[in-house]
């Protein structure tokens, strides 16, 4: 079995699966149970300044979006940072790290944007002998109204400034946790790098309202008839997170900056995808909150089996997909495919037909006996039929080999050509 042992900015863990800073890591009891279940590390629930702890709402703090069979696809929360006394958290962190020296224990922090506040908390955290700190510049609700969390994460200059303070006032590795609630993730990532961050972790939650109660007209979760936007997470946010991770992994300035990938990771596959896009560790919150700590066992067995089947090490996988993330303009326009419906697998639901006929290119014929066939002369290969088909692999995309004639355009398929040299592109560079 492939080894999953991980070293990330000098922090070792037996596997790359960490629990993200959130309720699952809010206390020793949870974290110890998580370690017993097999988690490689945790980022402790965000600590705030010393003094009276923050308070949470006393009504529901989560809203949800479900898929078929009430599968939880997205969760949103209006929870704040830890509401337990700083002293208690620090004592427990110290104890946990002492009892579990082989696991990663990183502590998430969020204090006001003042150097003294950061200096003070860093000193106390350092005393726990934890492995590193993560700066929570991501929380999009509540704390942001107080000038913290995503209020910092949305201003690259603040990120750089605070990161610099932290590197100045501590020997610990510093991870900067980024908010997705910005237009271009590269700016905050570059700022973190300039400030001296050892790594970035992303994403934190996405600002959201999950639903509106149509009887009380309150957003959910409803607190006495009112709601406030929350932070969205879970499987629904994974695509957003993957893109942001990839953007940082391939950006000329931030390339090589270690990344802890977060957002919707539920299975070994999700984790492997983040790793392939450059993540050195992955962090999980919603999946653990939905299914319990034991899911890590599937992640461990699945990732190890996958690596074995590919004959790769974990290191080989890391960043393996990054070179394949490119700009649209470089995509091969001579890659011509056609949808193919496997009649043996087809259950004749007709969803492909409805999708293509009503909303796309009228490229599927419905023949007597509910036989659905692709009309190559119309198929633009958009993939919609593949995506709406309920049977995996029933509809596939088959490439036309170079030299074949595309019945839709009458053109002979070539090897490679992209937009940069396309005749319709007014900016086209002459092919040399």
């Amino acid at each position: 079995m492939a080894s999953l042992a991980t070293e990330f900015v000098g922090i070792r863990s037996p596997n790359p699966f960490w629990l993200a800073s959130a309720p699952p890591t809010d206390k020793q009891y949870n974290v110890v149970r998580a370690f017993k279940a097999g988690w490689g590390g945790v980022v402790w629930k965000t600590l705030g300044e010393d003094g009276p702890p923050v308070v949470n709402v006393n009504g529901p703090r989560y809203g949800a979006v479900w898929g078929a069979d009430r599968r939880l696809l997205g969760l949103n929360n209006i929870e704040l940072i830890t509401d337990r006394p700083l002293e208690v958290n620090l004592r427990e962190i110290k104890q946990v790290k002492r009892d579990w020296p082989d696991r990663a224990v990183v502590v998430s922090l969020m204090v006001p944007c003042e150097e003294e506040s950061w200096k003070a908390i860093l000193k106390r955290v350092e005393e726990t002998e934890c492995d590193g700190v993560e700066l929570n510049f991501g929380c999009p609700h509540g704390m942001s109204e107080r000038g913290m969390g995503s209020a910092v994460g949305q201003v690259p200059e603040y990120i750089e400034m605070v990161t610099r303070w932290c590197k100045q006032h501590s020997r610990m590795p510093v991870l900067v946790k980024l908010t997705p609630n910005i237009t271009d993730i590269r700016y905050p990532a570059r700022a973190a790098l300039r400030g001296g961050a050892d790594a970035v972790s992303l994403i934190n939650t996405v600002s959201s309202i999950t639903s509106v109660n149509l009887d009380t007209f309150s957003p959910e979760p409803s607190i006495d008839g009112k709601g406030s936007h929350g932070g969205y997470c879970g499987p629904a946010v994974k695509p957003i997170a993957l893109n942001m991770v990839a953007e940082i992994a391939r950006d000329a300035e931030t390339r090589g900056l270690p990344i802890s990938g977060i957002g919707g990771i539920t299975t070994w596959r999700d984790a492997a995808e983040f790793i392939a896009l450059g993540a050195g560790t992955v962090q999980v919150c919603t999946a653990a909150m939905t299914y319990g700590f034991r899911i890590v066992q599937e992640m461990i067995s699945g990732l190890a089996q996958y690596l074995d089947s590919k004959g790769m090490t974990l290191g080989d996988l890391r960043g393996r997909a990054v070179p394949n993330v490119t700009d649209w303009q470089y995509l091969n326009l001579e890659y011509v495919t056609k949808a193919r419906i496997n009649q043996d697998l087809c259950i004749k639901c007709g969803r492909c037909y409805a999708a293509c006929e009503d909303t796309s290119h009228q490229a599927i014929a419905m023949k007597p006996g509910r036989v659905f066939e692709v009309i190559d002369a119309e198929c633009v290969a958009c993939n919609l039929c593949v995506n709406v088909c309920p049977v995996e692999n029933c509809i596939t995309m088959e490439r036309l080999p170079p030299g074949a004639t595309d019945p839709r355009t009458g053109r002979i398929v070539g090897d490679y050509a992209n937009w940069t040299t396309h005749p319709n592109n007014p900016m086209a560079r002459a092919a040399e």
Partner: protein, 447 residues
């Protein structure tokens, strides 16, 4: 073809070859990938899942289903085999409707449990087809253990012992290993020679020698084994059969015998069966004998059970299966005689009634036409070595299979406690192996 279901007497070839082949095909065909994905998707990954508790071998069911759902059936198989080395057979033969699937929360929610048994088969079939055997032997301990009986209990015990580095010799009186997996389970539950394939797969761990055709009590004694080995495990199963104790009993045949013959037949067309078959009993063996008689082409098959329908030990699922196959189930009727001249012709029954003093036969009688009569009223322990304490007709054990004789363990059907099921035998064999291993490590064992 000359014979048909209407041919009188006990004859073979009542149905055309194609019909026989179809009848004895996999009763529950394997799931394909799409079906498995849809089925796996229904698992809620419950906390402290009730299905695990309901499984005698305590397989981590939610984990293996999640591993299937994420495209790693091989990892799922490892999860299964870690607890139950005969997970492939159990996937086929376990009465899941009274075990894991009965406990599934979706049974409570929708009356439709997650198809745990079929998913288990999906995973183990894939891994076995790939030749995966995810266990290796520990360094040799030099300790030797004798296992008597190559049924599920003995095999599970041997595998676990071999894993711990002990050298195991299994003795079995029969020609082939497997116990009732090979000679008892209904043919349509384990098709394609699966029982032998699974034994071969299990043995691939190494460190296990099987000697077939060697019977305890005939070829060697328990004392011989105790002298030559560091520990002994008895997985003898139940070799005796309860008698009807009615006139004409000699005209009836043991159902287990009939089934064993059927399981060993090279060709279904060679297996003779009566035109009118009567099976006496109310358990799994009765159902299996009846259904397979029907599948061989008997015209009428009737199970007759002496107590009321609620007392039938065959599960509701098994009963439905029998009825669907065309078997009639009569209850509250006890046999009083088998009539016939050299061969069975009729069975005479008395109606019965449950009273304050137990079951009572009523004066009223009826007869069923029968050219073949099967007895399936329970198997019993036979050929137990002297000196072993018994309880309730089985070998008395404490904890994980410790018998009254030091250094001798027992498990499976021959040992007291637990249901007589394949999966229970596996659990008991495995747990005894762990106890033997601990005892050997502690320098105990040979008494």
């Amino acid at each position: 073809m000359t014979n048909s279901p209407l041919t009188p007497g006990i004859v073979s070839g009542r149905l055309p070859a194609a019909a026989l082949a179809a009848n004895f095909a996999d009763v529950e065909p394997p799931l394909d990938r799409h079906e498995a994905m849809v089925a796996a998707d229904r698992c809620y990954f419950c906390h402290d899942a009730p299905c695990i508790t309901a499984c005698p071998t305590a397989i981590d069911i939610p984990l293996f289903i999640r591993q299937i759902a994420t495209g790693t059936p091989e990892a799922a198989a490892t999860t299964i085999w870690t607890q139950n080395i005969l997970g492939g057979m159990c996937a086929r033969v376990c009465p899941t409707e009274t075990l894991c699937e009965e406990a599934c929360v979706r049974e409570a929610a929708e009356g439709k449990p997650v198809e745990i048994g079929r998913l288990q088969r999906y995973a183990t079939d894939i891994a076995m087809a790939k030749g995966l055997h995810p266990f290796t032997r520990a360094a040799s301990t030099g300790r030797r253990v004798a296992v008597v009986g190559a049924g599920p209990a003995g095999l599970a015990c041997a595998h676990r012992l071999a894993m711990h580095g002990h050298d195991v010799t299994i003795y079995d009186a029969r020609d082939k290993p497997g116990g009732l997996n090979e000679y008892g389970i209904a043919a349509y539950k384990t098709t394609g020679g699966f029982a032998q394939a699974e034994v071969a797969w299990l043995l691939s761990i190494g460190g296990i020698v099987i000697e077939t055709g060697k019977a305890l009590g005939r070829d060697f004694t328990l004392d011989d084994l105790r002298a030559r080995f560091d520990a002994v495990f008895l997985g003898l199963g139940l070799q005796g059969v309860n008698a009807l104790r009615v006139p004409g009993e000699a005209l009836a045949r043991d159902a287990v015998d009939f089934i064993a013959g059927l399981r060993q037949a090279g060709d279904w067309a060679d297996v003779p069966v009566g035109r009118d078959v009567v099976v006496i009993g109310g358990g799994m063996t009765a159902v299996d004998a009846a259904v397979q008689s029907k599948l061989l082409g008997a015209e009428t098959v009737t199970i007759v059970y002496r107590r009321g329908p609620e007392k039938l030990s065959a599960s509701v699922y098994e009963q439905e299966h029998a009825k669907t196959a065309g078997v009639r189930i009569l209850t509250n009727a006890a046999p009083v005689a088998v009539h016939g001249d050299g061969a069975a012709a009729e069975v005479e029954f008395a109606y019965t009634e449950e009273g304050p003093d137990g079951l009572r036969q009523l004066p009223e009688r009826f007869r069923l036409k029968a050219d073949q009569v099967f007895k399936a009223i329970g198997q019993t322990l036979a050929g137990v070595p002297e000196g072993l304490a018994l309880t309730g007709g089985k070998i008395a054990v404490t904890g994980p299979g410790r018998t009254s004789i030091p250094g001798v363990w027992a498990g499976g059907d021959c040992a007291a406690g637990g249901e007589d099921l394949t999966v229970t035998a596996v659990a008991e064999g495995r747990d005894a192996a762990e106890d033997i291993h601990a005892a050997l490590a502690a320098g105990r064992g040979r008494g």
